[in-house]
Amino acid sequence: MAKFSKTKTGKDLGSKQFFDLIRSIGEAKSKQEEDKIIAREIAVLKSKMGEKDVDKKQMKEYVVRLLYCEMLGSNAEFGYIFCVNLIASSDLLQKRTGYLAVQLTISPDCDLLYLIVSAIQKDLKSTNSLDVCCALNAATKLINAELMPCLIQDVQNCLKHQSALVRKKAIVCIHAFWRKDEMGIGDNKQYQQVLCDKDPAVMACTLSFLQDLCCLNPEENKHLVSSFVSILRQICEHRLTKEYDYHRIPAPWIQIKLLKLLAILCHQDVERSKQAYIVLGEVMKRADSGLPIGHAVIFECVKTITCLVPAPELIESAADAISKFLSSPNPNLKYLGITSLSRIVLINPIYAKEHRDVVMGCLEDHDGTIKRKTLDLLYAMTNQDSVEVIVARLARFLAAAHDVYLKSDLVTNISDLAYKYYPTMEWYIQTMNNVIKLGEQFVDNQTVQGMLKMIAEGSEELSEEENEEFRVHAVESYYELLDTSDKLPETLVQIISWVLGEYGFMSQEYSQDDITDKLCDLLEKSPDNDTRGYIITALMKLTAQVTPVPDHVLELVASFKSSGSLALQQRCYEFLELANYGGLMSGVLPLDGCCEILEVDQDLSFLDAVVSSALARGAKDYRKNYFQTLGQEEQVATLKTAVYVNPMDKTGVTEEAAAVVVKETELALNVTESKWNKKMLEPQKEDDAPVEQQEDYEDDEEEMSPTHDANNGLEAEDGEKKKKKKKSKQDRLATIFDKPAGKKTVKKGTKKKKTSEAASPQSDIHDGNGRAASPPSAQLGVPGLKEQLVPSVGELTMANFEKTWKSHPAEGSGALAIPPGIDVDTMADRIMEVSNIVKIQTIGTQFVAAARHNSGFVLCHFQIDSTTFSIKVRSMMPDLTAAVVQHLQSSILG
């Protein structure tokens, strides 16, 4: 057997230079030193390979040296062209080396590929079958979907080649083509013929291809079952020549492939499963040679048996085989045993019980792979009866685990099992608390949501009283947990805050004051902004029914007004503002309100009185300004989530702040039909927006709703970042507010904020569609203009659009007649198609759109008025504006 001794004498070790290179690399003491040597070698190769009239044989050695350098991780792109040249050599070995080099180095999107393709084309037609083989090898690796049509015909011809080797490679090559482009090889059916090739080796190579085809579409290939069964029988009965034997097992690799195919095709098919039963039993019996390859075949049989419609006799023999595997001292067989047991327990859980002790023992195995497999198995084995034992065991295992992947899998498995099979809700919460303590970083948001949902909605099997009792239990046990533990994971603290905030009032044992104080302590101690957000919200809910809110709570919350986290700031301001209106606060945050279903007033009719009184006082109707109009309509649809969802979408909020927002939104929306989420917004509008203040708005801006400031600041920040300008926050705020649109009434200010944010995801969707759908550029219009414009996707939202509009001075407008009945989306798509100008937002029959240009943006406002389409454009340069208007006018209908 090969010893792979380090040195050996009397062998051909290439040129002296190569030998020296290898030796010096071997002696290199550091990675830096090695890199230096390689860099030197690359320099040498660069000059040597570039010389004129390099001997082909010499060149071949250079190429091998080059491959060596590339393998060690350096880039030798300069040499690729020499590799390509070598392909054209008439010497087969040189040709082959050339092909090898391009396969190993050139990526399927390199320009040199075109040169290689023509060489492959030539060689596929060569009379020398070895040339053809080389070309097929290269085609398999290198040819992408785009180039396939150049070669497919030649490769198909190779399927009829007289040499079996060529036929074998041709079918593998076609398989590789298929993987890159399923449509690129014509009708798949024609390749089933290859199965009947007179050479069994060619037939064997077809099986992998058929396996992929069958996986994709089992129904269409069911007729092949009888062929596969018959081939398998013939192999099993030793009908193939001795050459196909491996360790006296006939063609084991082909047997394994056939078994896999049968598993796919006979799955849940009674008739076809029956066809396979007899031969399966036979294969299993004959493969039992005690050698590894025999075990491989048996293992495959077991897998297939578990996929077929169950046959008791076969399952029995499969179970026997599994027992043998499991009890074997050979770790490879143990691995197979565990893998196959996890399949058979799905059919009959009885086998799980039989082997449970052995399997539990495998958890202690020092082999990581076996441990992982065992976990999968335990996961499959668990049911209502065994969940407590198994989860306890897994939790113990989690406590001792170090491997990151292992821990993450464990946390997921335990959470899933506990959720699926929990015997009591107390047990579930207890288990999950434990899991969070042991592997907090692997607990995903969904799991946390699941826990909260469980507490909020209770179990269907229990009566409402029992569910309430359970909530009280949750509150009290969490309270005690806070008392007894010093340091809890942030995730757990968040859950605890939510539970105490939501259901704290239910507790008999602890008064509301106790719980409030506990939360205040927690807030003071908590280092994490996310968690602080949770706690403040909990405090808010808890104290909502208490008038007035205790001073010490307000003081504590006020101390976070200047927090670095904007989301946290927002929460504090909201709380403090609400606390001024005791009655309102208790209405907004009712007891146990998280499961109530919300009714959304789509028309915002509750605002009518405010609006009409404002109008009566002489305020302008904000519909007249189209930005305002945009704002109002859009608001209705997205009112509920806008403020929480959008800040992180587009405005570049810090991740930290965004996380809070998202978490909170999910909490409110996923777990429960949130009430307070919306309520948070509406009263604020009323509080902040008394119409009387209308005239003073400009002066009072700094005192306005913090939400407003913060978010507008962020939007602006986003816009600014894009322009690479730096201004202080103060300046930014000043510029934002120094615009007529924001000054109308305070109410509009707040509304507009939401709408502008709401605009972003929508515009994004449209952008995406527009771009995806656009065909090649239009012929009419100003030539080359479209190419100068780049679709502006996601850069502009309604909020910064308005501002950007003002910063682009050159305005132009135009109009054209259109047939009646054209809608906005059609127009928007058409405009995208001819000019790369992308719609940002629609409002009624108007829409705004933008594209990026070297000089800045090109901003457009369009309106459809039955048969007139009016265009308004702004950009940085009058010429550009004029060109865009002209281009649009001439090309939209063209």
Partner: protein, 152 residues
Amino acid sequence: MIHAVMIVNNHGKARLLKFYDKISYDTQQQLVQEVFRTVSKRSDDVCNFADGAKMWPNPARYIYRHYATLYFVFVIDDCESELAILDLIQIFVETLDRCFEDVCELDLIFHSDRAHFILDEIIMGGMVLETNKDEILRSLDGLAKKGSFDKK
């Protein structure tokens, strides 16, 4: 399918690399190191299979054998049989052994081209092409006769 074949020595230096998926060059180098980290940590008395890292484009398993100074690692997906691949590695090594007459690590360095040719006769495009040693050698012999496969 087989995603990749690697031969790495005990110090983590690659001796032969073959990727059957389209994987960027830098990722390839990272994957080699990842594979080496995984298999070199495993003692000789554990099973020859290890779960692949999540950085592979598809779920992957490493099937490997450790000979004196070299690790032979085949990276496979769910469609291949672990134990059969283990024997395939054996076939690859035995063929190398026959071709180089008692193969050693240096042979693989100086004649990486030849090692690649052998591998190309066993696996093509990630699929098992041939498992019979004589047949593999015969197609290489063809090369020797027609071309100048410098047999010693």
